[in-house]
Amino acid sequence: MTDLLTQLRDYGRQIETDPMLGAGSPVIVDTETRQRKTPGPSGRWVWAPVAATVILLAFLPMLLTRSGEEPVATTVPTRFAEEGWIAFSAVATDLDYDLYLVGIGQTAFRVVGDDFDDRDQLCPAFSPDGTRIAYGEAEGTIDTGYANGALVVAEVGVDGTLTETFRIATGTGSAPPCPTWSPDGETIAAGVRASGNPRNPTNQRGDVWIVPTNDQAPTVLENLYVAQSRYPSDLWSDMEWSPDGTELAITHPQGITLYSQADREVRTLDDTELARHLSWSPDGTRIVFESGTGSPADRTYLRVAEVDDSGVDTLVDEYYSSDGIGPVWSPTGDQIVYQRDCVQEYGLQDAGRCLYQYEVLLTTPEGDEVILRDLQLPGDERVWWPNRVTWSPDGNRLLYLAYLGEPDEQGRVPQALIARPIDPESAPVLLYQPPTIAPRLGDINTYGEGFQLAHQSWSRPILP
């Protein structure tokens, strides 16, 4: 048998001489239509490696997790979530997304969907008091396209059982809508796509539906929805109610749009063009948002807009956003979590600000940042990269949908739901890992971006 290196060399020659592959026609950059750009706008917070190092050193002790701590057991027989239920969508044993619940220290269980329903249940969202859950459902999958989408609301029992209370059809050709609750729990908003087919260009545009939970008669804000992704499973934070429930903020390429519940009018915040993800401050005076084209080649800005339209500040200048659902303001209001892709950073002059390949950062509203160390479970050296990170209701933990940085021996990427305490002295807890890895062949790549797990929502505890 020919030795391996010779085989590799000859295989390489085959590729290099293939006119369709290695020696393909040169790339032509159209310099007439592609304009050279000047550096982006600079904000108040310009990073320097020294500053990053100082901040890191100051917070390093807080970021060190206690070693040798045993993971919390995940098999507790009772079904009472002392710290609130966590809902998530997962492709676990079948070929579509179903809804699951899990509590800290408990075993996850499926609450909606089965192995043969050929429906995706996505975007679970707990009501603010934790007694109800809203989610989107549709026939089909992201691979086949969707039909007969519906917005569904169910009551959540103390033991995590769900009892459907109502469902609203969102159109024969629609995908699962992703709902968000008003703070009083009386209204739900969701973006409804014009098409359920991810390959249809109209898929990413549609209407915003405002649905009162009492009479379920929707108000439709036509053509106001611009989805951030072709796939509902790639939910990003594209709309959110103000903490007082008077306004719904919606991302839009032309700027953040605010819909007033009282007078049913919309206004656009100045200087918020290209807002892609948003999150209200708990006091309702500001909105943090990521601004950028969404192109992987373009960098992103983290900005904060005053809701009274008095101005927009830049918190973080020029970074590459990494998966995630955008910035999320902590329930306590003192921190904002966001994700950064540092793989592209290494060639830049300011590469020193990055510590890891994919980072989760906490920033204060004033822009003081901490980079969280790579996420590792107790007794396990493997690094879990962040896919989506949100907060627990009390602001004491971060909830990660995560994936392993390197594929396993079969080239598959294990994914997991992990709760990470903000207190660095407390160990992260593995909440759920699908029993099989990536059964949905078209959906998972070697970087784990296929979202075998999608969406997480952490409720306040329901008292028995």
Binding site: M1, T2, D3, L4, L5, T6, Q7, L8, R9, D10, Y11, G12, Q14, I15, E16, D18, L21, G22, A23, G24, P26, V27, V29, D30, T31, R34, Q35, R36, K37, T38, P39, P296, A297, Y320, D341, V343, Q344, E345, Y346, G347, L348, Q349, E406, P407, Q410, G411, A438, L441, G442, D443, I444, N445, T446, Y447, E449, G450
Partner: protein, 156 residues
């Protein structure tokens, strides 16, 4: 005007050298079906942000990072990178299972093994393109080759 012409010349010179190398490196990492588009996007980015590219300590590595991110996002719906099948009529001594075995390597291992051994790059060239220390390149090479030998059942 004079400045723009100079920039164009410099870019053209850069592109002539970097583009074919980017295509091979991105193809090794993410599959050759995605490499062309990712290379095109990376080169367009380089043109648009030429100041940044020239300011980078490792321009080609920087542009490779752009292409890598583009390809990585395009890869969402693919499980394995596309590596062309072995043309048994032309190179019958190459195992037909070689592309699949390469596809099962980690991205880093595959990048390193293919650039070093399929395309004959030097250690320094691979190190520069991938922005990786030479020692790290060698580690990925060693592990990648060991796994290939195991998967293909070859001893040498």
């Amino acid at each position: 005007m004079h400045e723009i012409v100079e920039a164009s010349d410099a870019f053209t010179e850069f592109a002539q050298v970097a583009e074919p190398r980017l295509r091979l490196a991105l193809g090794a990492a993410f599959g050759f079906d995605l490499a062309e588009e990712a290379t095109a996007e990376a080169m367009a980015f380089a043109w648009e942000h030429w100041d940044r590219v020239t300011a980078a300590s490792n321009p080609v590595g920087y542009v490779f990072g752009v292409g890598r991110n583009t390809a990585r996002r395009s890869l969402r719906r693919h499980r394995f990178p596309y590596l062309p099948p072995v043309l048994a009529s032309e190179i019958p001594w190459v195992e037909p299972g070689l592309p699949r075995a390469l596809g099962l390597l980690s991205v880093r291992q595959r990048e390193v093994v293919m650039l070093l051994h399929c395309f004959g790059w030097t250690l320094g060239e691979v190190s520069e393109m991938l922005g990786m220390a030479r020692g790290t390149v060698q580690t990925h090479e060693r592990r990648g080759l060991a796994r290939l030998r195991k998967d293909l059942g070859v001893e040498q």
